[in-house]
């Protein structure tokens, strides 16, 4: 197969060289550090082989923070390049690669794992379960995501970054116009990560439908659990479409088929249709859980039940259904005719109705409340006006005829950043500040949190607000430079300055994690926010079996009423039983490595090597089929000891009596 070593590593760009050196140094540093501190064993037994949903969630979140950094650096480079007209900081090719990876990483490897991470940590706790339905599958989901993410991320140092945009439109992304292997990374890395996501979807549907604790009917589920359920349903409906689209892309690029090519009767529009058939629901896959987070945070810090709980549920279901019926609004300009465009204009605008219902319900949850301005709540508050701007510009874009002028401009770019940053990133930050103690047993620093908040929100608005006006002035997206005569310069410069503030906010966030990890008070109650749902009805940080005795639910906001009526908070000695838990397994990680190797070979079009590596994947599946490990039991004494260690403390609502 003749490996072309001279093309293997990307050379000739000082930025990439710097990245290569720093990656190598970081890897050496990590290996050296782990060896020096003798942490390899700990890493393997406590983290890599874990099937505990909370630890898997934490690993998702750590990956997401790292990916946020990578995607953010991409964003800053783009902003630097467009800060002045005719700037020569990045070449056009380099810019194309960067906006492609920025998009893919931010959506698929930042937003998704952040939310799936929070789902993993929170949902089993909120429904009063001890783990998800399929713990080992859950670990496999994470490791497949990780495998895909790493494969995608090495592209810029080995083989070349994908450069056809995160939408990867054909025929540009095909071999006819992109003969390098770079776009194979897109097709294959996303495929691997996508399989993991699909399995997460199955896992959470079964978990939520089958593992709710006694008394928790569907209409008593916390809103975050509801949104997770609906999101999982959308995943099941939408991800297979992406699987097919990516597979066809792989066939076109590796085996010369004619699905999306110019020659041989292929149809480039078909790719756009398939991509957005998945891509639009994908937006709601990340937005719905975020709405769930806001619902929890707003209810807790207003000290009130969620206003209009039922209509919230119907609104989510409505959004989910409509999300499958709007994909054409991404290409009104394809000339599908006024009837088609009218239909999709209407369905798209209709999404504003359930979203509006949610917005007003949140506002009226706060009304008559007592709003406590914690950092988590500030994020939820900032969400309301920022997302409203994203929403109304969304309605403007939905109007097919008007979209002819907005399409592919920075107006569109500003719009979706106004939707995704308040709608997802703010939610993730709110969720992290809110649930951090559940994961780590300490709060994030509130003062640093407020710095983080203000810098980020101001930076965000200054970065993206000018883009609306740039778009209306005729600035097309994805152009690596612009002329001085265009008159775009002042707004581009303002936007670039905003991005620095935005980045400073993120830096404060990272520092906050570090500071809190080292110095924050560990002596906090299990319920520091006076919260309402079951995840607070157990220890902080949560013991690995979650609940010594599964709680019983009698109403919505179960924990709030348990506290009010002082019911179900005490644990009697006689109630403690042996707890059955699943065993750890190294297999998911091994599968991750095998998928990674096989995928890497396939990216480089070494089909035989890829097939050989794929045999390893099959061997793993066969091994799993014969694996009858049934888990283990935690003895009563150990449970009693764990429970005694956190109950009965001063200020603790939870009691233990013998």
């Amino acid at each position: 197969m003749g490996i072309k070593w001279d093309e293997f590593f990307i050379t000739g760009d000082p930025l990439i060289l710097g990245a290569q050196i720093s990656i190598a140094l970081t890897m050496i540093g990590i290996v050296f550090g782990l060896t020096y501190l003798k942490k390899w064993n700990w890493l393997w037994t406590e983290w890599i082989t874990t099937v505990d949903h909370k630890r898997i969630g934490i690993m998702y979140i750590i990956s997401a923070v790292l990916m946020f950094f990578r995607g953010g650096v991409d964003g800053l480079l783009m902003k630097a390049q467009t800060s002045r007209p005719e700037m020569e900081f990045l070449s056009s090719q380099h810019y194309n690669e960067i906006f492609t990876t920025h998009g893919v990483i931010m959506i698929l490897f930042m937003a998704m794992p952040f939310l799936i991470g929070l789902m993993n940590v929170v949902v089993p706790l909120q429904i009063g379960a001890r783990d998800v339905a399929f713990p080992q599958l859950n670990a496999l989901s994470f490791w497949l995501f990780f495998s895909g993410a790493m494969l995608f991320n090495i592209s810029f140092v080995i083989g070349g970054s994908p450069d056809a945009g995160w939408t990867s439109y054909f025929p540009l992304a095909g071999k006819e116009f992109s003969p390098s292997i770079a776009n194979n990374y897109y097709a294959i890395a996303l495929q691997i990560a996508g399989i993991g996501t699909l399995m997460t979807g199955i896992n959470f549907i079964v978990t939520i439908l089958k593992m709710r604790t006694k008394g928790m009917t569907l209409m008593r589920m916390p809103m975050f659990t509801w949104t997770t359920l609906i999101t999982s349903v959308i995943i099941i409906a939408a991800f297979p479409i992406f699987t097919v689209a990516l597979a066809l892309m792989t066939f076109d690029r590796l085996f010369g088929t004619h699905f999306f090519t110019v020659s041989g009767g292929g149809m480039d529009m078909l790719w756009a249709n398939l991509f957005w058939l998945w891509g639009h629901p994908e937006v709601y896959i990340v937005a719905l859980p975020a709405f769930g987070i806001f619902s929890e945070v707003i209810a807790t810090f207003s000290r009130k039940s969620l206003f209009g709980y039922k209509s919230m549920v119907y609104a989510i279901v409505g959004i989910a259904l409509l999300s499958m019926l709007v994909w054409v609004h991404h290409f009104y300009t394809m000339g599908s005719g006024p009837a088609v465009n009218s239909f999709f204009s209407i369905t798209t605008m209709l999404i504003a109705v359930p979203t509006g219902i949610k917005m007003f319900n949140w506002l009226f949850t706060m009304r008559k409340g007592r709003i406590k301005m914690t950092t988590a709540m500030l994020w939820s508050l900032a969400f309301v006006p920022c997302f409203t701007i994203g929403g109304v510009t969304g309605v403007m874009l939905a109007m097919g005829a008007a979209d002819y002028q907005y399409h592919n401009t920075l107006f569109l770019v500003a719009h979706f950043h106004y939707v995704l940053i308040p709608g997802v990133v703010f939610a993730v930050f709110a969720g992290l500040y809110y649930w951090w103690p559940k994961m780590f047993g300490h709060l994030l620093n509130e003062k640093l949190g407020k710095w983080h908040f203000w810098l980020f929100v101001i930076g965000f608005n200054v970065t993206f607000m000018p883009m609306f006006f740039l778009g209306l002035s005729g600035a097309a997206r994805r152009t690596y430079t612009f002329s001085a005569e265009s008159g775009f310069a002042p707004l581009f410069l303002l936007s670039a300055m905003g991005s620095i503030v935005l980045a400073a906010g993120f830096a404060v966030f990272c520092y906050n994690i570090y500071w809190s990890l080292r110095y924050a008070d560990r002596n906090i109650s299990s319920d520091p926010w006076d919260a309402r749902t079951l995840e607070w009805a157990t220890a902080t940080p949560v013991q690995h079996y979650n609940f010594a005795k599964l709680p019983e639910v009698k109403s919505l906001d179960a924990f709030w009423f348990m506290k009010k009526n002082n019911e179900g908070l005490t644990l009697k000695d006689s109630e403690i039983e042996e707890i059955h838990m699943p065993s750890n397994s190294g297999q998911p990680f091994i599968m991750c490595v095998l998928f990674g190797i096989s995928g890497f070979f396939l990216v480089f079009e070494w089909s035989i090597a890829a097939a050989v590596a794929a045999l390893g994947i099959f061997a793993g599946l066969i091994y799993r089929s014969f694996d009858y490990n049934d888990g283990y039991h935690i003895p009563v004494d150990e449970v009693r000891e764990t429970e005694l260690s956190w109950r009965n403390k001063k200020g603790e609502a939870h009691k233990h009596v013998s």
Partner: protein, 201 residues
């Protein structure tokens, strides 16, 4: 977690974990429906794009396809018989019907591979035109599922022989039964929308 046992249900549904696995598999089949629906959609869009290459009428061998169909439909029936015997607790009959199912499936697969070889032989490969690309990928995805199903069922049969009929092996047999029937349904759609429609239109 698996403490949730209910012995009044059929063997494969008795443990709580098994009930979750079966539900999970149904949801997986939902995802498979979305996957095949997409492939059918792609085929529907591209099936008229011959790019100067062979058309449906040029390549379809309806007699062979009829035999394939009969093989697969029969295998679905014998798979049903296998589940029936499982419910009656007859391990040996269960294994026998499963083996027959797999043999029929293998026969189907053999004929499909021959069909592909024939197509390529007459100059209709998946590189020839968009129509053929979509045809090969649709049929090939189904064929790959059948192949995967055969390999998987063999593993389950080995476990049946080693461990006998337990709630776990029963659940595995039941799930593979669902999978097999599903592939049969997909084939009925392929037969109708690819072969019959291709001959008529």
């Amino acid at each position: 977690m698996s403490a949730n046992v209910n012995t009044s249900l059929p063997l494969e549904y008795q443990s709580g974990q098994s009930r979750m696995n079966i539900l999970g598999f149904w949801i997986f089949l939902g995802a498979e429906i979305a996957l095949f629906a997409t492939l059918f959609g792609v085929y529907a869009v591209l099936s008229g794009r011959y790019a100067g290459g062979p058309t449906h009428q040029d390549i379809i061998m309806i007699r062979e396809v009829m035999i394939q169909t009969i093989l697969l439909l029969t295998s679905s029936f014998t798979c049903g018989l296998a589940i029936f015997e499982m419910r009656r607790g007859n391990k040996n009959e269960l294994i026998m019907w499963l083996v027959i199912t797999l043999l029929l499936g293998a026969g189907f697969l053999y004929m499909e591979i021959n069909e592909f070889i024939h197509y390529v032989h007459i100059g209709a490969s998946m590189q020839t035109s968009a129509f053929l690309s979509s045809l090969f990928v649709l049929l090939g995805t189904h064929g790959a599922h059948v192949t995967f199903g055969i390999g998987w069922a063999i593993l389950v049969i080995i476990q049946l022989i080693k461990r006998g009929l337990t709630s776990v092996t029963a659940r595995k047999v039941f799930i593979i039964g669902l999978y097999w029937h599903f592939l049969d349904v997909v084939w009925i759609f392929i037969f109708t929308f690819v072969y019959l429609k291709g001959l008529v239109l």
